[in-house]
Protein backbone atom coordinates (compact mmCIF):
# COMPACT_ATOMS: atom_id res chain seq x y z
CA UNK A 1 0.00 0.00 0.00
CA UNK A 2 2.92 2.33 0.76
CA UNK A 3 3.56 2.38 -2.95
CA UNK A 4 0.14 3.78 -3.74
CA UNK A 5 0.51 6.30 -0.93
CA UNK A 6 3.72 7.48 -2.55
CA UNK A 7 2.00 7.71 -5.91
CA UNK A 8 -0.83 9.67 -4.30
CA UNK A 9 1.72 11.97 -2.63
CA UNK A 10 3.43 12.59 -5.96
CA UNK A 11 0.04 13.20 -7.54
CA UNK A 12 -0.75 15.78 -4.88
CA UNK A 13 2.61 17.49 -5.30
CA UNK A 14 2.14 17.63 -9.05
CA UNK A 15 -1.37 18.98 -8.62
CA UNK A 16 -0.07 21.74 -6.36
CA UNK A 17 2.67 22.47 -8.87
CA UNK A 18 0.15 22.63 -11.68
CA UNK A 19 -1.89 25.09 -9.62
CA UNK A 20 1.18 27.20 -9.04
CA UNK A 21 1.45 27.59 -12.81
CA UNK A 22 -2.28 28.11 -13.02
CA UNK A 23 -2.22 30.97 -10.52
CA UNK A 24 -0.35 33.28 -12.85
CA UNK A 25 -1.96 31.62 -15.87
CA UNK A 26 -5.23 33.17 -14.67
CA UNK A 27 -3.84 36.61 -15.43
CA UNK A 28 -2.50 35.48 -18.81
CA UNK A 29 1.10 35.20 -17.59
CA UNK A 30 2.63 31.94 -18.78
CA UNK A 31 5.37 31.22 -16.30
CA UNK A 32 8.05 28.64 -16.92
CA UNK A 33 9.83 29.74 -13.78
CA UNK A 34 8.00 27.47 -11.38
CA UNK A 35 10.87 24.98 -11.16
CA UNK A 36 12.97 27.79 -9.71
CA UNK A 37 10.41 28.56 -6.98
CA UNK A 38 9.97 24.83 -6.46
CA UNK A 39 13.72 24.60 -5.82
CA UNK A 40 13.73 27.61 -3.50
CA UNK A 41 10.88 26.17 -1.46
CA UNK A 42 12.53 22.76 -1.34
CA UNK A 43 15.94 24.01 -0.28
CA UNK A 44 14.66 26.62 2.17
CA UNK A 45 12.26 24.38 4.05
CA UNK A 46 14.52 21.33 3.97
CA UNK A 47 17.31 23.47 5.40
CA UNK A 48 15.06 24.58 8.22
CA UNK A 49 13.91 21.09 9.17
CA UNK A 50 17.17 19.23 8.59
CA UNK A 51 19.74 21.79 9.77
CA UNK A 52 17.85 23.75 12.37
CA UNK A 53 15.31 21.17 13.46
CA UNK A 54 12.19 23.20 12.74
CA UNK A 55 8.74 21.73 12.59
CA UNK A 56 7.69 20.95 9.04
CA UNK A 57 4.71 23.33 8.98
CA UNK A 58 6.54 26.58 9.76
CA UNK A 59 9.41 25.39 7.59
CA UNK A 60 7.05 24.90 4.66
CA UNK A 61 5.57 28.33 5.29
CA UNK A 62 9.01 29.90 5.30
CA UNK A 63 9.78 28.08 2.05
CA UNK A 64 6.63 29.55 0.57
CA UNK A 65 7.51 33.02 1.83
CA UNK A 66 11.03 32.79 0.40
CA UNK A 67 9.66 31.68 -2.94
CA UNK A 68 7.09 34.47 -2.91
CA UNK A 69 9.72 37.10 -2.18
CA UNK A 70 11.87 35.88 -5.05
CA UNK A 71 8.71 35.72 -7.14
CA UNK A 72 8.09 39.40 -6.45
CA UNK A 73 11.67 40.21 -7.34
CA UNK A 74 11.23 38.39 -10.65
CA UNK A 75 7.76 39.64 -11.45
CA UNK A 76 8.27 43.35 -10.94
CA UNK A 77 11.12 43.90 -13.44
CA UNK A 78 9.57 41.56 -16.00
CA UNK A 79 6.17 43.23 -15.98
CA UNK A 80 6.86 45.01 -19.25
CA UNK A 81 7.47 41.75 -21.06
CA UNK A 82 4.70 40.39 -23.21
CA UNK A 83 3.62 36.84 -23.86
CA UNK A 84 6.34 34.36 -24.64
CA UNK A 85 9.12 36.86 -23.87
CA UNK A 86 8.10 36.74 -20.24
CA UNK A 87 8.06 32.97 -20.48
CA UNK A 88 11.63 32.94 -21.74
CA UNK A 89 12.76 35.34 -19.03
CA UNK A 90 11.38 32.96 -16.43
CA UNK A 91 13.21 30.07 -18.10
CA UNK A 92 16.45 32.01 -17.78
CA UNK A 93 15.64 32.47 -14.11
CA UNK A 94 15.23 28.69 -13.67
CA UNK A 95 18.67 28.13 -15.16
CA UNK A 96 20.24 30.66 -12.80
CA UNK A 97 18.58 29.10 -9.76
CA UNK A 98 19.55 25.61 -10.84
CA UNK A 99 23.20 26.55 -11.22
CA UNK A 100 23.24 28.40 -7.91
CA UNK A 101 21.78 25.46 -6.00
CA UNK A 102 24.14 23.17 -7.81
CA UNK A 103 27.11 25.02 -6.37
CA UNK A 104 26.01 26.29 -3.00
CA UNK A 105 27.22 24.76 0.24
CA UNK A 106 26.07 25.45 3.79
CA UNK A 107 24.86 23.46 6.75
CA UNK A 108 26.27 21.66 9.73
CA UNK A 109 28.09 18.51 10.62
CA UNK A 110 25.86 15.63 11.45
CA UNK A 111 26.45 12.13 12.62
CA UNK A 112 25.37 8.94 10.97
CA UNK A 113 24.67 5.60 12.46
CA UNK A 114 27.38 3.95 10.46
CA UNK A 115 30.99 4.21 11.46
CA UNK A 116 32.19 6.76 8.95
CA UNK A 117 35.88 6.32 9.48
CA UNK A 118 36.59 5.16 5.94
CA UNK A 119 37.96 7.69 3.51
CA UNK A 120 34.98 7.12 1.31
CA UNK A 121 32.49 8.29 3.87
CA UNK A 122 34.42 11.17 5.35
CA UNK A 123 32.24 13.78 3.73
CA UNK A 124 29.01 12.01 4.46
CA UNK A 125 27.95 13.48 7.78
CA UNK A 126 27.18 16.85 6.26
CA UNK A 127 23.66 18.04 6.70
CA UNK A 128 22.74 20.73 4.24
CA UNK A 129 23.23 21.42 0.56
CA UNK A 130 26.69 20.35 -0.48
CA UNK A 131 27.14 21.65 -4.00
CA UNK A 132 26.82 19.00 -6.70
CA UNK A 133 26.76 16.30 -4.04
CA UNK A 134 23.27 17.36 -3.17
CA UNK A 135 21.30 17.84 0.01
CA UNK A 136 20.83 14.52 1.70
CA UNK A 137 19.46 13.37 5.00
CA UNK A 138 16.14 15.21 4.95
CA UNK A 139 14.64 12.64 7.26
CA UNK A 140 11.97 14.66 9.00
CA UNK A 141 9.25 12.15 8.10
CA UNK A 142 10.95 9.04 9.45
CA UNK A 143 12.27 10.93 12.48
CA UNK A 144 8.76 11.97 13.41
CA UNK A 145 7.06 8.68 12.55
CA UNK A 146 5.00 10.08 9.74
CA UNK A 147 4.05 7.08 7.64
CA UNK A 148 3.57 7.36 3.88
CA UNK A 149 -0.16 6.96 4.46
CA UNK A 150 -0.32 9.87 6.90
CA UNK A 151 1.82 12.03 4.67
CA UNK A 152 -0.41 11.25 1.72
CA UNK A 153 -3.44 12.15 3.81
CA UNK A 154 -1.96 15.49 4.81
CA UNK A 155 -1.10 16.17 1.21
CA UNK A 156 -4.63 15.35 0.10
CA UNK A 157 -5.96 17.73 2.76
CA UNK A 158 -3.56 20.40 1.54
CA UNK A 159 -4.71 19.85 -2.03
CA UNK A 160 -8.29 20.26 -0.84
CA UNK A 161 -7.30 23.48 0.94
CA UNK A 162 -5.69 24.88 -2.19
CA UNK A 163 -8.69 23.68 -4.16
CA UNK A 164 -10.98 25.65 -1.86
CA UNK A 165 -8.75 28.69 -2.34
CA UNK A 166 -9.05 28.45 -6.10
CA UNK A 167 -12.76 27.62 -5.91
CA UNK A 168 -13.41 30.74 -3.89
CA UNK A 169 -11.01 32.79 -5.98
CA UNK A 170 -12.70 31.86 -9.22
CA UNK A 171 -16.03 33.03 -7.87
CA UNK A 172 -14.76 36.23 -6.30
CA UNK A 173 -14.27 39.63 -7.84
CA UNK A 174 -10.53 39.12 -7.54
CA UNK A 175 -10.67 35.99 -9.67
CA UNK A 176 -12.83 37.67 -12.27
CA UNK A 177 -10.47 40.63 -12.26
CA UNK A 178 -7.58 38.26 -12.99
CA UNK A 179 -9.54 36.65 -15.78
CA UNK A 180 -10.29 40.10 -17.15
CA UNK A 181 -6.59 40.90 -17.24
CA UNK A 182 -5.99 37.64 -19.07
CA UNK A 183 -8.64 38.34 -21.67
CA UNK A 184 -7.91 41.97 -22.35
CA UNK A 185 -5.35 43.87 -20.36
CA UNK A 186 -6.30 47.21 -21.85
CA UNK A 187 -9.99 46.84 -21.29
CA UNK A 188 -9.24 45.74 -17.75
CA UNK A 189 -7.30 48.95 -17.12
CA UNK A 190 -10.17 50.78 -18.72
CA UNK A 191 -12.51 49.62 -15.96
CA UNK A 192 -10.03 50.52 -13.25
CA UNK A 193 -8.34 47.19 -12.68
CA UNK A 194 -4.68 47.57 -11.84
CA UNK A 195 -3.28 44.96 -14.19
CA UNK A 196 0.26 45.26 -12.88
CA UNK A 197 -0.84 44.67 -9.32
CA UNK A 198 -3.01 41.72 -10.28
CA UNK A 199 -0.27 40.09 -12.33
CA UNK A 200 2.37 40.51 -9.66
CA UNK A 201 -0.04 39.30 -6.99
CA UNK A 202 -0.98 36.18 -8.95
CA UNK A 203 2.65 35.51 -9.81
CA UNK A 204 3.78 35.81 -6.20
CA UNK A 205 0.97 33.55 -5.00
CA UNK A 206 1.95 31.04 -7.69
CA UNK A 207 5.56 31.23 -6.52
CA UNK A 208 4.49 30.65 -2.92
CA UNK A 209 2.40 27.63 -3.94
CA UNK A 210 5.37 26.22 -5.85
CA UNK A 211 7.46 26.80 -2.72
CA UNK A 212 5.00 24.73 -0.68
CA UNK A 213 5.18 21.96 -3.28
CA UNK A 214 8.98 22.14 -3.12
CA UNK A 215 8.96 21.61 0.62
CA UNK A 216 6.64 18.61 0.28
CA UNK A 217 8.77 17.14 -2.49
CA UNK A 218 12.01 17.53 -0.57
CA UNK A 219 10.61 15.79 2.48
CA UNK A 220 9.10 13.00 0.42
CA UNK A 221 12.30 12.30 -1.48
CA UNK A 222 14.74 12.85 1.41
CA UNK A 223 17.45 13.86 -1.04
CA UNK A 224 17.51 16.76 -3.49
CA UNK A 225 20.07 18.33 -5.76
CA UNK A 226 19.98 21.51 -7.79
CA UNK A 227 19.85 19.46 -10.96
CA UNK A 228 16.39 18.10 -10.16
CA UNK A 229 14.89 21.48 -10.88
CA UNK A 230 15.55 21.78 -14.56
CA UNK A 231 13.82 23.04 -17.67
CA UNK A 232 12.08 19.76 -18.64
CA UNK A 233 10.44 19.73 -15.21
CA UNK A 234 9.19 23.27 -15.58
CA UNK A 235 7.83 22.54 -19.05
CA UNK A 236 6.01 19.49 -17.68
CA UNK A 237 4.30 21.67 -15.08
CA UNK A 238 3.01 23.94 -17.79
CA UNK A 239 1.93 20.90 -19.77
CA UNK A 240 -0.27 19.75 -16.87
CA UNK A 241 -2.16 23.02 -17.04
CA UNK A 242 -2.47 23.29 -20.79
CA UNK A 243 -3.50 19.67 -21.24
CA UNK A 244 -5.88 19.55 -18.32
CA UNK A 245 -7.34 22.91 -19.32
CA UNK A 246 -6.34 26.36 -18.18
CA UNK A 247 -9.82 27.83 -17.91
CA UNK A 248 -10.76 26.47 -14.51
CA UNK A 249 -8.82 25.10 -11.59
CA UNK A 250 -10.20 21.62 -12.32
CA UNK A 251 -8.09 21.38 -15.45
CA UNK A 252 -4.67 21.42 -13.76
CA UNK A 253 -5.83 18.72 -11.34
CA UNK A 254 -6.84 16.45 -14.17
CA UNK A 255 -3.64 17.14 -16.09
CA UNK A 256 -1.45 16.40 -13.08
CA UNK A 257 -3.42 13.28 -12.19
CA UNK A 258 -3.31 11.86 -15.68
CA UNK A 259 0.36 12.50 -16.20
CA UNK A 260 1.38 11.16 -12.81
CA UNK A 261 -0.80 8.08 -13.12
CA UNK A 262 -0.09 7.34 -16.77
CA UNK A 263 3.50 6.19 -16.17
CA UNK A 264 2.33 4.08 -13.22
CA UNK A 265 -0.57 2.42 -15.03
CA UNK A 266 1.33 2.07 -18.27
CA UNK A 267 4.14 0.34 -16.43
CA UNK A 268 3.10 -2.84 -18.23
CA UNK A 269 3.98 -1.22 -21.52
CA UNK A 270 7.35 -0.33 -20.02
CA UNK A 271 9.33 0.09 -23.20
CA UNK A 272 7.06 2.57 -24.89
CA UNK A 273 5.97 4.55 -21.87
CA UNK A 274 7.60 7.83 -22.85
CA UNK A 275 6.35 7.55 -26.42
CA UNK A 276 2.81 7.01 -25.16
CA UNK A 277 3.24 9.99 -22.90
CA UNK A 278 4.35 12.23 -25.75
CA UNK A 279 1.63 10.99 -28.07
CA UNK A 280 -1.02 11.53 -25.40
CA UNK A 281 0.23 15.08 -25.02
CA UNK A 282 0.18 15.69 -28.75
CA UNK A 283 -3.24 14.12 -29.24
CA UNK A 284 -4.78 16.12 -26.42
CA UNK A 285 -3.59 19.34 -27.97
CA UNK A 286 -4.74 18.40 -31.45
CA UNK A 287 -8.20 17.24 -30.46
CA UNK A 288 -8.93 19.45 -27.45
CA UNK A 289 -7.33 22.83 -27.82
CA UNK A 290 -8.73 24.23 -24.60
CA UNK A 291 -7.59 21.23 -22.65
CA UNK A 292 -9.61 18.35 -21.35
CA UNK A 293 -11.78 20.41 -19.03
CA UNK A 294 -13.23 23.69 -20.21
CA UNK A 295 -15.17 26.31 -18.32
CA UNK A 296 -18.32 25.45 -20.23
CA UNK A 297 -18.07 21.84 -19.12
CA UNK A 298 -17.72 22.91 -15.51
CA UNK A 299 -20.68 25.25 -15.82
CA UNK A 300 -22.85 22.56 -17.34
CA UNK A 301 -21.83 20.11 -14.65
CA UNK A 302 -22.60 22.66 -11.95
CA UNK A 303 -26.04 23.33 -13.43
CA UNK A 304 -26.68 19.62 -13.61
CA UNK A 305 -25.72 19.13 -9.97
CA UNK A 306 -27.81 22.09 -8.92
CA UNK A 307 -30.77 20.71 -10.84
CA UNK A 308 -30.29 17.31 -9.27
CA UNK A 309 -30.32 18.82 -5.79
CA UNK A 310 -33.13 21.31 -6.17
CA UNK A 311 -35.16 19.06 -8.42
CA UNK A 312 -35.87 22.05 -10.60
CA UNK A 313 -35.40 21.89 -14.30
CA UNK A 314 -34.07 25.05 -15.79
CA UNK A 315 -35.17 25.87 -19.27
CA UNK A 316 -32.71 27.11 -21.77
CA UNK A 317 -29.29 26.27 -23.10
CA UNK A 318 -28.17 25.05 -19.71
CA UNK A 319 -30.79 22.35 -19.60
CA UNK A 320 -29.24 18.95 -19.06
CA UNK A 321 -29.14 16.98 -22.23
CA UNK A 322 -29.57 20.01 -24.43
CA UNK A 323 -26.94 20.30 -27.14
CA UNK A 324 -23.98 22.19 -25.80
CA UNK A 325 -23.15 25.54 -27.34
CA UNK A 326 -20.19 25.09 -29.63
CA UNK A 327 -17.15 26.00 -27.56
CA UNK A 328 -14.87 26.85 -30.46
CA UNK A 329 -13.07 30.12 -29.93
CA UNK A 330 -11.76 32.71 -32.34
Amino acid sequence: MAYWYTVISLMCINTILAWSVYSSFMTGTVSLGQAGFFAIGAFASASLTAIYGWHIVPATMMGAVAAAIVGLAIAIPTLRLKGLYLTIATVAFVEVIRVVFHNIKYGRDGEFAIDASSADARQMPWIGPDGPLGFRHIIYLTEHHITPGEYAMWLVLLVIAFGVYFWVLERSRLGFAMRAVEEDEIAAQGVGLSHNFLKVFAFAIGAAIAGVAGSLYAHLLTFITGDDFNIPLTVMMLAYVVIGGGQTFWGPILGALIFTLLPEIARETKEFRLELFGIAMLATMVFRQHGLITRDMVRRAETRIKTAFTGRNTIGPDEPGAPAPNPTKK
Binding site: L84, Y85, F93, V242, L274, E275, F277, M281, M285
Partner: protein, 303 residues
Protein backbone atom coordinates in the same frame (compact mmCIF):
# COMPACT_ATOMS: atom_id res chain seq x y z
CA UNK B 1 41.36 34.01 -14.50
CA UNK B 2 45.03 34.71 -14.22
CA UNK B 3 46.39 38.04 -15.27
CA UNK B 4 49.67 37.03 -16.86
CA UNK B 5 51.48 37.49 -20.14
CA UNK B 6 48.99 35.23 -21.90
CA UNK B 7 45.92 37.09 -20.66
CA UNK B 8 45.17 39.16 -23.73
CA UNK B 9 46.12 36.46 -26.19
CA UNK B 10 43.82 34.01 -24.48
CA UNK B 11 41.11 36.62 -24.18
CA UNK B 12 41.12 37.17 -27.92
CA UNK B 13 41.53 33.50 -28.73
CA UNK B 14 38.56 32.69 -26.47
CA UNK B 15 36.54 35.33 -28.25
CA UNK B 16 37.37 33.81 -31.63
CA UNK B 17 36.46 30.31 -30.45
CA UNK B 18 33.28 31.60 -28.89
CA UNK B 19 32.18 33.33 -32.06
CA UNK B 20 32.94 30.19 -34.05
CA UNK B 21 30.96 28.04 -31.63
CA UNK B 22 28.23 30.62 -31.86
CA UNK B 23 27.84 30.09 -35.60
CA UNK B 24 26.41 26.63 -34.83
CA UNK B 25 24.03 28.16 -32.29
CA UNK B 26 23.04 30.69 -34.92
CA UNK B 27 22.14 27.97 -37.40
CA UNK B 28 19.99 26.30 -34.77
CA UNK B 29 18.30 29.58 -33.91
CA UNK B 30 17.41 30.57 -37.46
CA UNK B 31 14.81 27.81 -37.68
CA UNK B 32 13.21 29.04 -34.46
CA UNK B 33 13.31 32.64 -35.59
CA UNK B 34 11.71 31.85 -38.92
CA UNK B 35 8.79 30.01 -37.36
CA UNK B 36 8.28 32.56 -34.61
CA UNK B 37 8.56 35.47 -36.99
CA UNK B 38 5.98 34.05 -39.35
CA UNK B 39 3.63 32.20 -37.04
CA UNK B 40 4.22 33.62 -33.60
CA UNK B 41 4.57 30.15 -32.09
CA UNK B 42 7.39 28.45 -30.28
CA UNK B 43 8.30 25.32 -32.21
CA UNK B 44 9.83 23.15 -29.51
CA UNK B 45 10.13 20.28 -31.97
CA UNK B 46 12.64 22.22 -34.03
CA UNK B 47 15.50 20.59 -32.13
CA UNK B 48 14.34 17.25 -33.49
CA UNK B 49 15.20 18.34 -37.02
CA UNK B 50 18.72 18.85 -35.66
CA UNK B 51 18.80 15.43 -34.01
CA UNK B 52 17.44 13.64 -37.06
CA UNK B 53 19.73 15.57 -39.38
CA UNK B 54 22.64 14.47 -37.25
CA UNK B 55 21.40 10.88 -37.38
CA UNK B 56 21.03 11.02 -41.17
CA UNK B 57 24.57 12.35 -41.41
CA UNK B 58 25.81 9.56 -39.17
CA UNK B 59 24.12 6.85 -41.20
CA UNK B 60 24.96 8.23 -44.62
CA UNK B 61 28.55 9.28 -43.97
CA UNK B 62 29.47 6.83 -41.24
CA UNK B 63 27.80 3.66 -42.47
CA UNK B 64 27.09 4.02 -46.13
CA UNK B 65 30.37 5.91 -46.59
CA UNK B 66 28.75 8.42 -48.91
CA UNK B 67 30.82 11.48 -49.84
CA UNK B 68 30.45 14.43 -47.50
CA UNK B 69 28.35 16.70 -49.78
CA UNK B 70 25.84 13.91 -50.40
CA UNK B 71 25.57 13.01 -46.74
CA UNK B 72 25.16 16.69 -45.92
CA UNK B 73 22.30 16.79 -48.42
CA UNK B 74 20.83 13.71 -46.75
CA UNK B 75 20.91 15.50 -43.40
CA UNK B 76 19.21 18.57 -44.88
CA UNK B 77 16.51 16.48 -46.56
CA UNK B 78 15.87 14.58 -43.32
CA UNK B 79 15.54 17.86 -41.49
CA UNK B 80 13.01 19.05 -44.08
CA UNK B 81 11.00 15.84 -43.77
CA UNK B 82 10.87 16.07 -39.98
CA UNK B 83 9.83 19.70 -40.21
CA UNK B 84 7.05 18.77 -42.65
CA UNK B 85 5.86 16.15 -40.20
CA UNK B 86 5.84 18.73 -37.43
CA UNK B 87 3.86 21.09 -39.61
CA UNK B 88 1.35 18.43 -40.55
CA UNK B 89 0.81 17.05 -37.05
CA UNK B 90 1.50 19.85 -34.62
CA UNK B 91 0.67 23.00 -36.49
CA UNK B 92 -1.84 22.52 -39.32
CA UNK B 93 -4.72 21.10 -37.25
CA UNK B 94 -4.42 23.70 -34.49
CA UNK B 95 -3.20 26.81 -36.20
CA UNK B 96 -6.11 28.93 -35.00
CA UNK B 97 -5.69 28.01 -31.35
CA UNK B 98 -3.94 29.88 -28.57
CA UNK B 99 -0.17 30.14 -29.05
CA UNK B 100 0.47 27.71 -26.20
CA UNK B 101 -1.43 24.90 -27.88
CA UNK B 102 1.03 24.28 -30.74
CA UNK B 103 3.85 24.79 -28.26
CA UNK B 104 2.67 21.92 -26.05
CA UNK B 105 1.88 19.81 -29.11
CA UNK B 106 5.44 20.26 -30.35
CA UNK B 107 6.63 19.38 -26.86
CA UNK B 108 4.77 16.08 -27.20
CA UNK B 109 6.40 15.56 -30.58
CA UNK B 110 9.78 16.32 -29.04
CA UNK B 111 9.38 13.77 -26.22
CA UNK B 112 8.04 11.08 -28.54
CA UNK B 113 10.61 11.44 -31.30
CA UNK B 114 13.54 11.79 -28.94
CA UNK B 115 12.59 8.53 -27.30
CA UNK B 116 12.10 6.84 -30.68
CA UNK B 117 15.44 8.13 -31.90
CA UNK B 118 17.10 6.92 -28.73
CA UNK B 119 15.62 3.45 -29.32
CA UNK B 120 16.86 3.50 -32.91
CA UNK B 121 20.37 4.33 -31.76
CA UNK B 122 20.14 1.73 -29.08
CA UNK B 123 18.98 -1.04 -31.36
CA UNK B 124 21.41 -0.14 -34.09
CA UNK B 125 24.50 0.43 -31.98
CA UNK B 126 23.67 -0.60 -28.40
CA UNK B 127 24.95 2.77 -27.26
CA UNK B 128 23.92 6.34 -27.74
CA UNK B 129 27.13 8.20 -28.48
CA UNK B 130 28.49 7.42 -31.88
CA UNK B 131 31.56 8.79 -33.63
CA UNK B 132 30.58 11.25 -36.32
CA UNK B 133 32.81 11.04 -39.38
CA UNK B 134 35.13 14.02 -39.51
CA UNK B 135 38.41 13.53 -41.35
CA UNK B 136 39.64 16.98 -40.35
CA UNK B 137 39.35 16.72 -36.57
CA UNK B 138 42.94 17.62 -35.98
CA UNK B 139 43.44 20.18 -38.75
CA UNK B 140 44.07 23.72 -37.54
CA UNK B 141 45.20 27.00 -39.04
CA UNK B 142 47.74 29.01 -37.14
CA UNK B 143 48.07 32.78 -37.41
CA UNK B 144 50.91 33.84 -35.18
CA UNK B 145 49.67 33.32 -31.67
CA UNK B 146 46.17 32.44 -32.74
CA UNK B 147 44.73 29.20 -33.99
CA UNK B 148 41.49 28.42 -35.71
CA UNK B 149 40.05 24.96 -36.02
CA UNK B 150 39.42 23.82 -39.58
CA UNK B 151 36.02 22.34 -38.77
CA UNK B 152 34.94 25.64 -37.27
CA UNK B 153 35.95 27.37 -40.48
CA UNK B 154 33.90 24.87 -42.46
CA UNK B 155 30.94 25.36 -40.15
CA UNK B 156 31.15 29.10 -40.35
CA UNK B 157 31.43 29.10 -44.14
CA UNK B 158 28.50 26.74 -44.53
CA UNK B 159 26.54 28.95 -42.18
CA UNK B 160 27.42 32.02 -44.20
CA UNK B 161 26.46 30.33 -47.47
CA UNK B 162 23.18 29.10 -46.04
CA UNK B 163 22.30 32.48 -44.61
CA UNK B 164 23.15 34.16 -47.90
CA UNK B 165 20.90 31.66 -49.66
CA UNK B 166 18.15 32.38 -47.17
CA UNK B 167 18.48 36.11 -47.80
CA UNK B 168 18.38 35.50 -51.53
CA UNK B 169 15.19 33.50 -51.11
CA UNK B 170 13.59 36.09 -48.87
CA UNK B 171 14.41 39.19 -50.90
CA UNK B 172 14.77 37.93 -54.44
CA UNK B 173 12.15 35.25 -55.01
CA UNK B 174 8.40 34.92 -55.26
CA UNK B 175 8.42 32.65 -52.23
CA UNK B 176 10.31 35.28 -50.29
CA UNK B 177 7.77 37.91 -51.18
CA UNK B 178 5.01 35.60 -50.04
CA UNK B 179 6.90 34.93 -46.81
CA UNK B 180 7.31 38.62 -46.12
CA UNK B 181 3.63 39.20 -46.79
CA UNK B 182 2.63 36.38 -44.45
CA UNK B 183 4.93 37.83 -41.82
CA UNK B 184 3.04 41.11 -42.11
CA UNK B 185 -0.25 39.37 -41.39
CA UNK B 186 -1.93 36.15 -42.42
CA UNK B 187 -5.28 37.66 -43.30
CA UNK B 188 -3.80 40.46 -45.36
CA UNK B 189 -1.57 38.02 -47.22
CA UNK B 190 -4.58 35.83 -47.88
CA UNK B 191 -6.50 38.79 -49.26
CA UNK B 192 -3.54 39.64 -51.47
CA UNK B 193 -3.82 36.22 -53.06
CA UNK B 194 -1.01 34.46 -51.21
CA UNK B 195 -1.60 30.82 -50.42
CA UNK B 196 -0.85 31.19 -46.73
CA UNK B 197 -0.83 27.51 -45.85
CA UNK B 198 1.51 26.66 -48.66
CA UNK B 199 3.82 29.51 -47.73
CA UNK B 200 3.91 28.42 -44.13
CA UNK B 201 4.72 24.90 -45.23
CA UNK B 202 7.64 26.31 -47.18
CA UNK B 203 8.73 28.19 -44.08
CA UNK B 204 8.72 24.97 -42.09
CA UNK B 205 10.72 23.33 -44.86
CA UNK B 206 13.33 26.09 -44.80
CA UNK B 207 13.52 25.88 -41.01
CA UNK B 208 13.90 22.12 -41.29
CA UNK B 209 16.69 22.49 -43.82
CA UNK B 210 18.53 24.78 -41.42
CA UNK B 211 17.91 22.34 -38.59
CA UNK B 212 19.24 19.40 -40.59
CA UNK B 213 22.31 21.37 -41.61
CA UNK B 214 22.89 22.46 -38.02
CA UNK B 215 22.60 18.84 -36.90
CA UNK B 216 25.21 17.73 -39.39
CA UNK B 217 27.58 20.54 -38.47
CA UNK B 218 27.06 20.01 -34.74
CA UNK B 219 28.01 16.36 -35.11
CA UNK B 220 30.92 17.39 -37.27
CA UNK B 221 32.28 19.89 -34.77
CA UNK B 222 31.73 17.77 -31.66
CA UNK B 223 32.87 14.56 -33.38
CA UNK B 224 29.91 12.71 -32.04
CA UNK B 225 26.30 11.97 -32.79
CA UNK B 226 23.74 11.29 -30.12
CA UNK B 227 19.95 11.16 -29.88
CA UNK B 228 19.80 13.98 -27.30
CA UNK B 229 21.23 16.63 -29.60
CA UNK B 230 17.66 17.79 -30.16
CA UNK B 231 17.17 18.83 -26.55
CA UNK B 232 20.42 20.73 -26.49
CA UNK B 233 19.60 22.38 -29.80
CA UNK B 234 16.16 23.38 -28.58
CA UNK B 235 17.43 25.01 -25.43
CA UNK B 236 20.41 26.76 -27.00
CA UNK B 237 18.52 27.74 -30.14
CA UNK B 238 15.69 29.17 -28.10
CA UNK B 239 17.96 31.29 -25.94
CA UNK B 240 19.88 32.42 -28.99
CA UNK B 241 16.73 33.50 -30.76
CA UNK B 242 15.46 35.47 -27.78
CA UNK B 243 18.85 37.08 -27.31
CA UNK B 244 18.91 38.28 -30.88
CA UNK B 245 15.31 39.36 -30.97
CA UNK B 246 12.52 36.92 -31.58
CA UNK B 247 11.66 36.43 -35.19
CA UNK B 248 14.63 38.37 -36.49
CA UNK B 249 17.03 36.46 -38.72
CA UNK B 250 20.02 38.83 -38.39
CA UNK B 251 19.22 38.77 -34.68
CA UNK B 252 19.49 34.99 -34.62
CA UNK B 253 22.90 35.16 -36.27
CA UNK B 254 24.27 37.86 -34.01
CA UNK B 255 22.57 36.27 -30.99
CA UNK B 256 24.33 32.97 -31.68
CA UNK B 257 27.69 34.62 -31.90
CA UNK B 258 27.03 36.67 -28.77
CA UNK B 259 25.88 33.59 -26.84
CA UNK B 260 28.90 31.50 -27.85
CA UNK B 261 31.17 34.44 -27.07
CA UNK B 262 29.57 35.08 -23.67
CA UNK B 263 29.68 31.43 -22.66
CA UNK B 264 33.35 30.98 -23.37
CA UNK B 265 34.44 34.40 -22.15
CA UNK B 266 32.54 34.06 -18.88
CA UNK B 267 34.11 30.64 -18.43
CA UNK B 268 37.49 32.22 -19.09
CA UNK B 269 37.10 35.39 -17.09
CA UNK B 270 34.85 34.49 -14.19
CA UNK B 271 33.91 30.97 -13.31
CA UNK B 272 33.39 27.63 -14.95
CA UNK B 273 30.76 26.51 -12.52
CA UNK B 274 28.62 29.63 -12.90
CA UNK B 275 29.14 29.92 -16.65
CA UNK B 276 25.55 29.05 -17.55
CA UNK B 277 24.20 31.17 -14.75
CA UNK B 278 26.14 34.16 -16.03
CA UNK B 279 24.92 33.68 -19.60
CA UNK B 280 21.33 33.22 -18.45
CA UNK B 281 21.53 36.11 -16.02
CA UNK B 282 22.70 38.36 -18.83
CA UNK B 283 19.83 37.13 -20.97
CA UNK B 284 17.41 37.89 -18.15
CA UNK B 285 18.79 41.41 -17.74
CA UNK B 286 18.69 41.96 -21.48
CA UNK B 287 15.05 40.95 -21.53
CA UNK B 288 14.28 43.29 -18.67
CA UNK B 289 16.01 46.28 -20.18
CA UNK B 290 15.50 45.56 -23.84
CA UNK B 291 12.56 43.20 -24.16
CA UNK B 292 12.70 43.09 -27.92
CA UNK B 293 16.18 41.51 -27.93
CA UNK B 294 19.23 42.90 -29.68
CA UNK B 295 17.70 43.23 -33.12
CA UNK B 296 13.98 43.07 -32.55
CA UNK B 297 11.65 45.97 -33.07
CA UNK B 298 9.45 47.25 -30.35
CA UNK B 299 5.78 46.84 -31.01
CA UNK B 300 3.56 49.39 -29.29
CA UNK B 301 0.23 48.25 -28.01
CA UNK B 302 -2.56 49.23 -30.29
CA UNK B 303 -5.50 50.59 -28.42
Amino acid sequence: MQFDEFFFIDLIQTGIDGAMLGSVYALMAIGFALIWGLLGILNLAHGQTVAFGMFAGLVSAGHLKLPIPISFACAVVTGVLVALLVERICYRPIRRAHELVPMIATLGFWITTEEILQKIYFHMYFKDFMPFPNPFTMTRFTFGEFVIRFDYVVTMSVAVVLVAALYFVIYRSRLGMALRMVAAGHDIAHLMGVNVLKTLRSAFMIAGAFGGAAGYLLGYVANMANPYAGSMATVKGLFTMILGGAGSIPGAIVGGIVLGFTELESAYLFSFAYRDAIAMGLLFLLLVFRPQGLFGTRVEDKI
